[in-house]
C-alpha cells in the first residue's frame, strides 16, 4: 500500500529537495505567524499557496521532458503577449504598470517570464546545439533583451534584473565566449550612466539610499534602516520567537513579504541565519548536482539557470534586507508570503526534479 503510494506519487519527486522545501515551508509558516502578529488566516493563506504550488510541482515533475521542451515556445509567446498587454492595457498599482486584468483574474506576466525566458533560451540553444554560432547567441540575447526592456519599463527594476540574470545564466552556461562576456560587462558598465538616466526617480532614490540611508530616515531610507536595525539587533542568538520588537511593534515594513528575512534575523539571530543559509546551500548543492548530471544540453541549461536564479533571488533579498543591495521588490524565495512567486519557484523545482528523475528513468 505504502509502496504503491510511493510508486505512484513519489517516483519523480526528489526526496532531498523535498525535505529542504519542507523545512523552508515550516520556517515560512512559523515566520508568517510571527510577522503577521499572530494571524492564522495569513498562515493558512500561505499554506494554501504552498499546496497549490506543490500540486504544480508534482505535475511538472511527473511530466515527461519532451512536454517541457515542446511547451517552451508557446509559453514564451504567451508571456510576451501578456507583457505587451500590460504595456498597453495594464492596471496601474503603486505607480507601476505590472498587472493585467484578464477578467477572471489579475496576473503579473513578469512572473511567468521568469520561467518562460530560460525555457525558451534553453530550447533555442538545444535546437541549434550542433551548429552553435555567434548569430545564435545574438538571437538569444534578443530573446532576453525584449522582455527585460518591457519589464524595466513597467517599471519593475527588481524583476527585470532577475530576468536578465536568469537569461544571462543560460548564455553563460551555453558557453558564451569569455571575450563577449567581458565585452557585455564593459558595455553594461559604460552604459550605466545612460541607464541611470533612464531610471525612474524612486529607483534612483533607492539606489542612493543604499549608500546613505541616514539622509532620509523616515522617507526612502526607512526600509533599509529598519531592516538593518532588525537584523543587527538580533545579535548572535536573536530575540526569540515572537519577541522581535522591530517586527511586533511594526517598525519593519513588508514584514510577511520582502522583509521577512529581517523578521527571521531579529528573532533567531546569526545562529538562525546560518541554519537558514545552510538549508539554501543544501538546495543549491542539490541543484548543482542535478545540473551537472543532466543528460541533455537543454536540461543542463535549464537546470543550471533554475539553480543559479534561485541563488540570485536568495542573495538579492538577503542583501537588500541587510543593506548591501538597493531595496528592490524581491521576496525571500520559498519563505516570503505570496502565491505567485511560490508557484514560479515550485514550478522550477518541479522541472529540476523532472530533469533528474526522467534522466534516471531513461538510464535505468
Amino acid at each position: 500500500m505504502i509502496n504503491q503510494f510511493q510508486r505512484r506519487f513519489m517516483t519523480h519527486l526528489d526526496p532531498m529537495l523535498l525535505g529542504a522545501l519542507g523545512a523552508l515551508m515550516f520556517i515560512s509558516l512559523v515566520l508568517i505567524y510571527s510577522a503577521s502578529g499572530g494571524s492564522f488566516d495569513r498562515v493558512m493563506g500561505q499554506f494554501i499557496n504552498i499546496l497549490v504550488a506543490f500540486a504544480a510541482l508534482w505535475l511538472v515533475a511527473n511530466m515527461p521532458l519532451h512536454y517541457l521542451i515542446r511547451s517552451a515556445v508557446p509559453i514564451y509567446i504567451l508571456g510576451m503577449v501578456l507583457l505587451l498587454g500590460v504595456a498597453f492595457f495594464g492596471d496601474i498599482q503603486n505607480g507601476a504598470r505590472r498587472w493585467l486584468n484578464l477578467g477572471v483574474a489579475t496576473v503579473q506576466p513578469s512572473e511567468l517570464m521568469k520561467i518562460a525566458l530560460p525555457l525558451m533560451m534553453a530550447w533555442y540553444f538545444e535546437r541549434h546545439e550542433a551548429t552553435l554560432a555567434m548569430k545564435n547567441y545574438a538571437f538569444a540575447v534578443i530573446l532576453l533583451i525584449v522582455p527585460f526592456a518591457l519589464i524595466l519599463r513597467q517599471p519593475d527594476l527588481g524583476t527585470a534584473m532577475l530576468i536578465l540574470a536568469s537569461g544571462f545564466y543560460v548564455l553563460f552556461l551555453a558557453g558564451l565566449n569569455w571575450k563577449i562576456i567581458v565585452g557585455l560587462i564593459v558595455t553594461a558598465l559604460a552604459s550605466a550612466p545612460f541607464l541611470w538616466h533612464a531610471l525612474h526617480d524612486y529607483q534612483r532614490q533607492r539606489i542612493l539610499m543604499l549608500f546613505n540611508p541616514e539622509d532620509d530616515r523616515l522617507g526612502k531610507g526607512y526600509h533599509t534602516i529598519q531592516g538593518m536595525i532588525a537584523v543587527g539587533s538580533g545579535g548572535i542568538f536573536g530575540k526569540g520567537y515572537l519577541n522581535g520588537t522591530q517586527t511586533h511593534l511594526e517598525f519593519l515594513p513588508e514584514r510577511t513579504t520582502d522583509f521577512i528575512f529581517a523578521v527571521y534575523s531579529e528573532e533567531f539571530g546569526l545562529f538562525g541565519n546560518l541554519i537558514l543559509l545552510g538549508i539554501y546551500m543544501f538546495i543549491l548543492w542539490r541543484g548543482y548536482v542535478i545540473t551537472a548530471n543532466a543528460s541533455t544540453y537543454f536540461t543542463r541549461l535549464m537546470a543550471g539557470s533554475i539553480t543559479l536564479t534561485f541563488f540570485t533571488y536568495t542573495f538579492v533579498n538577503m542583501g537588500m534586507v541587510s543593506g548591501i543591495l538597493p531595496v528592490v521588490g524581491v521576496p525571500l524565495p520559498l519563505v516570503s508570503y505570496g502565491g505567485t512567486s511560490m508557484l514560479t519557484l515550485y514550478l522550477g523545482f518541479g522541472m529540476l526534479m523532472s530533469i533528474h528523475s526522467h534522466k534516471t528513468l531513461v538510464q535505468s
Binding site: E129, A130, T131, L132, A133, Y169, F172, L173, G175, Q226, M228, I229, A230, V231, G232, S233, G234, G235, I236, T245, Q246, L249, E250, F251, S265, G269, L270, N273, L277, M281, L284, Y288, T291, A292, Y297, R300, G304, L308, F311, F315, M318, G319, S322, G323, I324
Partner: protein, 633 residues
C-alpha cells in the same frame, strides 16, 4: 571556434559545461561569503549599536508631572491648591485649519471669543508645547459630547489635568502670586538653570510671588515611565516607571484672617500693609491693594482682561508692599531721633524754640513746619508726639547727610530687606556719594534739611518701613523678614522650619530706645497725632504718623485737600508696634491719597493689632466725620 568543428565531442562538451558550472559555484560562494561577513558585521560587531537603535525606536520616556505643593497659612488654611479637571487641547501641528477646527468645536463645547483670544496669545508666547488648551474646566456633559465626536477632530484631545486654584483670590494675589503656562522665556531660563528635564511634562511654572520664589520647593520632582510604543507611536505597555515626588507643602508665616481684617480695614483705599513679628521676622500680613484674581492667569489670560488690569489707573498688578517706593514722611522721625541720640548730636533734654519754620544760616529760604506759628519749645519726646518738623530740619542739618545715611542704614533703609519673594525694591537712602553717582552733582546743605522729615530724595517701601519698625521694636535686632514658616516634604513627612538669621544687629543704648518708644506710645494717647486711633487701646500702642507728598508745594502755597484732585492727595503712613513694652507685632500701613496718616492709616493699624493681640474682630465702623487735629507736613 565551434562552428569549425564537424563533430562535437560529447565528453568535451560536458567538461566545458561543468567548468562553467564550477566557475558559477565559485562566484556564488564568494557572494555567500560577502553576505556572511555582512551578517557577522551587523549581528556581532554592530549588535549593540543596533540594539540601542531598536530600543530608541520602541521606548519613549513619558514624564509624569508631580503634584504641585500646597500653600497654607500659619494655621493650616489652604491658600493654593490643585484640583483635577478636563481641558480641551489642540495640537496646532496636527491641525490643518485651526480656525475651522475651533469653529467646529464651538458646536460641541462652549467656546467664547475670550477663549479664542487666550488661545491665540498662548500660541504666540510658547513654542515648546505640543498642545494648547482652547477651553479648560469642561463640564462632564461637554466631555461626553466631544468624546462621541472625537473622530472628527484629529489633533484635538481631552486631557485630565491638575489645575492650580487660589481660593482667596484677590486677598492673596500679591503674596502668593500665581502659576502660569511655561512660555518661551521660562523655557530658556529652565534650560539655562539646567533643570529643563524636570519640567518635560510640566505645563505650569510659578510666575510671581511665593509661587515664583519657592518654585523649586513647590514643583516637585518629575517621575517618568518607559513606555514601549509601536511604529505609529501608540503606547503598548509600560516597561518601568519612576513615580514623581510631589512638591513640598509651604506653611506661611501669615494668618489669612489677619490678612482679611487688614484688607477690609482699607475700605476703598489703595495702599499696602506689612505686619511683622519683630521677635523672629515672620511676616504676619502682607497686603497690597488693590489686588487681582490670580486664577485668571493660570491658564493664560485673555488680552482684554490683561489690558484692563494693566492699564487701570489703580495699577492692581503692582505689588505696592514689595515694590512701591514712597517718601517715608514723618514716619522717619523716630529713626532720626535714635540717630540723633546715638550720634550725640541730641540729648533727651535738648530743646529748640520752634517759630514754625527752619532756615539755614545765611539763607532766607524758610523750611516750614506743618503747623503755622510753630510748636513753641520742643524737646525730643514732644517732637515725636506732635511730629515737629522744625526739630528734625535742625537735627538733620547738624548731623550732616552722610551721618544720617549711615545711621538710617542700620535700620535697613536703602537696601532690600531680604524677604523671600523676588522683585523687591531697595528704596533710596541718599548720601553725598549717591548724588554724585546719580546726578553727578554735589550735595547742597538744603538737600539735607528735608531728608530730616522723610522728604527729599528718600524713598522707602512699605516692606522696608515695616521691617525698620520691627527692628526698632525689637531694640535694634532685626530678623530677616520671611513669608514661609516651614517647608514640609510630602514624601517623607519631614518638616524644615525656616529660621532666618538676624541680619541687623544695631543695638542703640537702652535709654535712647526707651525715650523714643515712650514718645511713640504717647503718639496714640490724647495730645498725640494718632490719639483718635489709640483711644481705648488696652495695651500700650506705639505708633507714628506720616504723610508722603505726592505733589510739591511752592513757597507760601497752602495744601488744601479739597482743592486737589484725589490722585494728587498725599499718601498716609502709619507705623506701629504693640504692646510697646514687649512688642509682638510691628507694622507699616500706607494708604494712597488718603491725606493724613492719623486719620486713615492709624485706625487700619489699630484694627490689625487689636485682632492680632486680642482676637477682636472690628465692627464695620464708618470713617470719622469729625475733624481731628492732624499733621500736615
Amino acid at each position: 571556434m565551434r562552428q569549425h568543428k564537424e563533430l562535437k565531442n560529447h565528453q568535451r562538451e560536458i567538461y566545458f559545461f561543468r567548468l562553467r558550472l564550477l566557475i558559477s559555484v565559485v562566484f556564488m560562494l564568494m557572494l555567500v561569503f560577502i553576505l556572511l561577513i555582512r551578517l557577522f558585521y551587523l549581528q556581532v560587531i554592530k549588535q549593540s549599536d543596533f540594539a540601542t537603535m531598536a530600543d530608541k525606536n520602541r521606548i519613549t520616556i513619558v514624564p509624569i508631572v508631580p503634584n504641585r505643593g500646597l500653600i497654607q497659612d500659619r494655621n493650616g488654611v489652604v491658600l493654593a491648591q490643585n484640583y483635577s479637571g478636563y481641558t480641551l487641547e489642540i495640537s496646532p501641528a496636527k491641525v490643518a485649519d485651526l480656525e475651522a477646527t475651533i469653529n467646529e468645536l464651538a458646536g460641541l463645547v462652549d467656546i467664547q471669543a475670550k477663549d479664542r483670544k487666550r488661545f491665540k496669545k498662548l500660541l504666540t508666547e510658547s513654542h515648546t508645547s505640543n498642545s494648547y488648551p482652547i477651553r479648560s474646566r469642561l463640564s462632564e456633559a461637554e466631555v461626553a459630547r466631544f468624546a462621541s465626536q472625537r473622530f472628527r477632530f484629529p489633533g484635538v484631545e481631552i486631557k485630565a489635568r491638575l489645575f492650580r486654584e487660589y481660593p482667596f483670590r484677590e486677598r492673596t494675589s500679591h503674596l502668593i502670586g500665581y502659576v502660569g503656562r511655561i512660555n518661551d522665556k521660562d523655557s530658556a531660563e529652565l534650560e539655562e538653570k539646567n533643570i529643563a528635564a524636570n519640567y518635560r511634562g510640566s505645563d505650569y511654572i510659578g510666575k510671581i510671588g511665593i509661587e515664583q520664589s519657592y518654585e523649586k520647593a513647590l514643583h516637585g520632582i518629575s517621575g517618568f515611565e518607559n513606555v514601549e510604543v509601536d511604529a505609529a507611536g501608540r503606547g503598548v505597555r509600560v516597561l518601568s516607571s519612576t513615580p514623581p515626588k510631589s512638591g513640598n507643602t509651604l506653611t506661611l508665616t501669615m494668618d489669612i484672617k489677619l490678612q482679611e481684617i487688614a484688607e477690609q480695614a482699607f475700605g476703598n483705599f489703595r495702599g499696602a500693609l506689612v505686619a511683622i513679628d519683630p521677635n523672629n521676622g515672620e511676616v504676619l500680613a502682607f497686603v497690597s491693594k488693590p489686588g487681582y484674581d490670580p486664577n485668571l492667569f493660570v491658564d493664560g489670560i485673555d488680552t482684554e482682561t490683561w489690558d484692563a488690569l494693566n492699564n487701570s489707573p489703580d495699577v492692581p498688578l503692582n505689588n505696592r508692599a514689595l515694590r512701591g517706593q514712597y517718601p517715608p514722611g514723618s514716619t522717619i522721625k523716630p529713626f532720626m531721633a535714635i540717630s540723633g541720640l546715638e550720634s550725640g548730636k541730641r540729648t533727651s533734654s535738648y530743646t529748640i524754640g520752634d517759630p514754625g519754620y527752619f532756615t539755614l544760616p545765611g539763607n532766607r529760604h524758610q523750611y516750614r513746619d506743618w503747623k503755622a506759628g510753630g510748636h513753641g519749645r520742643v524737646d525730643m519726646f514732644k517732637s515725636i508726639v506732635i511730629s515737629c518738623d522744625t526739630y528734625y530740619y535742625g537735627l538733620a542739618t547738624d548731623m550732616g547727610i552722610d551721618a544720617v545715611h549711615d545711621y538710617l542704614e542700620k535700620f535697613g533703609f536703602g537696601k532690600k530687606t531680604g524677604l523671600d519673594m523676588e522683585g523687591e525694591s531697595a528704596g533710596l537712602l541718599p548720601s553725598q556719594d549717591w548724588k554724585k553717582r546719580r546726578f553727578n552733582q554735589i550735595w547742597y546743605p538744603g538737600d539735607t534739611v528735608s531728608v530730616g522729615i522723610g522728604q527729599g530724595y528718600t524713598l522707602v517701601t512699605p516692606m522696608q518701613l515695616a521691617y525698620a519698625t520691627a527692628v526698632l521694636a525689637n531694640n535694634g535686632v532685626g530678623y530677616r523678614p520671611h513669608l514661609v514658616k516651614q517647608i514640609s516634604s510630602s514624601t517623607n513627612d519631614t518638616t524644615e522650619p525656616v529660621n532666618p538669621p538676624a541680619d541687623i544687629n544695631f543695638k542703640p543704648k537702652p535709654e535712647h530706645l526707651e525715650l523714643v518708644k515712650s514718645a511713640m506710645t504717647a503718639v496714640t494717647l490724647p495730645g498725640g497725632t494718632a490719639a483718635w486711633a489709640g483711644s481705648g487701646a488696652s495695651y500700650p500702642f506705639a505708633g507714628k504718623t506720616g504723610t508722603a507728598q505726592v505733589i510739591g508745594m511752592k513757597q507760601g502755597e497752602k495744601y488744601v485737600e479739597k482743592d486737589i484732585s484725589e490722585r494728587h492727595r498725599d499718601h498716609a503712613w502709619f507705623i506701629a508696634f504693640a504692646p510697646a513694652d514687649k512688642p509682638r507685632i510691628a507694622l507699616a500701613v500706607l494708604a494712597e491719597n488718603a491725606g493724613h496718616g492719623g486719620t486713615v492709616s492709624a485706625p487700619i493699624a489699630r484694627k490689625v493689632i487689636d485682632y492680632y493681640l486680642l482676637g477682636k474682630i472690628p465692627a464695620p465702623v464708618p470713617m470719622p466725620k469729625s475733624k481731628v487735629e492732624t499733621e500736615n507736613d
